[in-house]
């Protein structure tokens, strides 16, 4: 797969405890991206934050109750991102989805690197 030039970057913000069909929402989103053959997706866990609910999410280091803020970053062409958006709209009940224009400088994987050398 090739990705170059103009692309879109999505950032989806929600809570770590959010679920979708019995599994963590962030896992569900990554899986959805994979089934749609999206170039890549990465999940980050924040250390503190608040969102639409204005409830501060603050995970405690030693406690088992989480609900830390979570951000999923997705990069692909506009067409691919548009394919993903309806699904996200349905999955993210409470949270934020932001999109920005990006320029891909490099998109590389090991097998391609091996083929080139």
């Amino acid at each position: 797969m090739k990705l170059e030039g103009k692309a879109k970057m999505l950032r989806i913000y929600f809570g770590e405890d959010d679920n979708w069909k019995g599994q963590p929402l962030y896992k569900a989103i990554v899986e959805k991206c994979r089934t749609l053959d999206i170039a890549g997706a990465t999940v980050f866990r924040g250390i503190e934050g608040y969102g639409a609910s204005t409830l501060i999410r603050r995970p405690h280091l030693l406690s088992l109750s989480h609900d830390a803020p979570v951000m999923v970053s997705v990069v692909d062409t506009e067409a691919k991102i548009q394919q993903l958006l309806p699904a996200l709209d349905e999955m993210v009940v409470e949270g934020l989805i932001a999109m920005s224009n990006v320029e891909v400088i490099k998109y590389m994987h090991e097998t391609a690197a091996a083929a080139r050398s």
């Binding site: 797969m1 990705l3 692309a7 970057m9 962030y26 896992k27 990554v30 991206c33 994979r34 170039a39 890549g40 997706a41 990465t42 999940v43 980050f44 866990r45 979570v70 970053s73 990069v75 920005s100 224009n101 990006v102 320029e103 891909v104 400088i105 490099k106 998109y107 590389m108 994987h109 090991e110 097998t111 391609a112 690197a113």
Partner: protein, 245 residues
């Protein structure tokens, strides 16, 4: 103030125990230079030497380390040297005075001024447009025997990039479709993201280098950002340095 260009370097040789009006000759000379607006001067103590009297002064045996050779050096403009030379003749007593033609390649600046200049050199300014770059790599990726994310950060620093931050993800996949999990405590294969902000010019210049580092899989994307504020706390930094000293 000393300017770049031709200048004179004056070297005065005296003995450590040589006196001028009751004070050490070298410190009297240094004070004289200081209060006559000389740009800067350095006093050096030799280990051994001999002078006009052919008596060897050495620090070989501590007890007899007497009257070691002292050298006072300074660089000034020709006019300034001419102005203060007669007095130096008197102060140096039996010592030698040497004058060399020299060239000031870069005049010294006061710490404050050089810091201001360093700040000017940083092209990223508050309230300007700049670029943000995201670099996605794996935690286990390596570059010359060190973690790739750390190598990238070091590379950014070495290239005077305004700033970079490494984030560790908990789950992700990329170009090779392999899932990276970083959620468990023992995992060493988390997805990593480095964000970098600087001017387009500086980031474009750095791109080939980063391109080469991210050879074994990764993603580099760039986007526009507005810089609202970019400052650095000099005062704080200095205070910390003082505390350490």
């Amino acid at each position: 103030m000393l300017k770049a260009g031709p200048a004179k370097k004056v070297i005065i040789y005296v003995g450590e125990e040589q006196k001028y009006h009751g004070a050490s000759a070298y410190s009297a000379i240094l004070d004289f230079l200081f209060y006559h607006g000389v740009a800067g001067a350095t006093v050096m103590r030799g280990m051994a030497g001999f002078g006009a009297d052919h008596h060897i002064h050495s620090d070989r045996i501590l007890a007899v380390a007497t009257n070691l050779p002292m050298k006072v050096e300074f660089v000034e403009s020709a006019e300034k040297v001419e102005e203060i030379l007669p007095k130096l003749f008197e102060m140096a007593g039996t010592g030698l005075i040497e004058i060399q033609e020299t060239t000031v390649a870069k005049p010294a600046a006061t710490g404050k001024k050089s810091r201001e200049r360093a700040a000017e050199a940083t092209t990223l300014r508050s309230e300007s447009t700049a670029k943000i770059m995201w670099i996605f790599v794996g935690e286990s990726d390596r570059w010359h025997d060190k973690p790739l994310y750390r190598a990238i950060l070091e590379c950014l620093r070495a290239n005077d990039i305004a700033g970079g931050t490494v984030y560790k993800g908990i789950l992700g996949y990329g170009a090779n479709k392999r899932v990276h999990k970083g959620s468990t405590m023992l995992s060493h294969d988390a997805p990593m993201m480095i964000t970098v902000v600087d001017t387009e010019e500086k980031l474009r210049k750095l791109t080939p280098t980063l391109d080469e580092m991210v050879q074994h899989g990764g993603l580099l994307v760039m986007s526009d950002v507005d810089v609202i504020k970019y400052t650095r706390g000099y005062a704080e930094d200095d205070r910390r340095k003082e505390a350490r000293a």
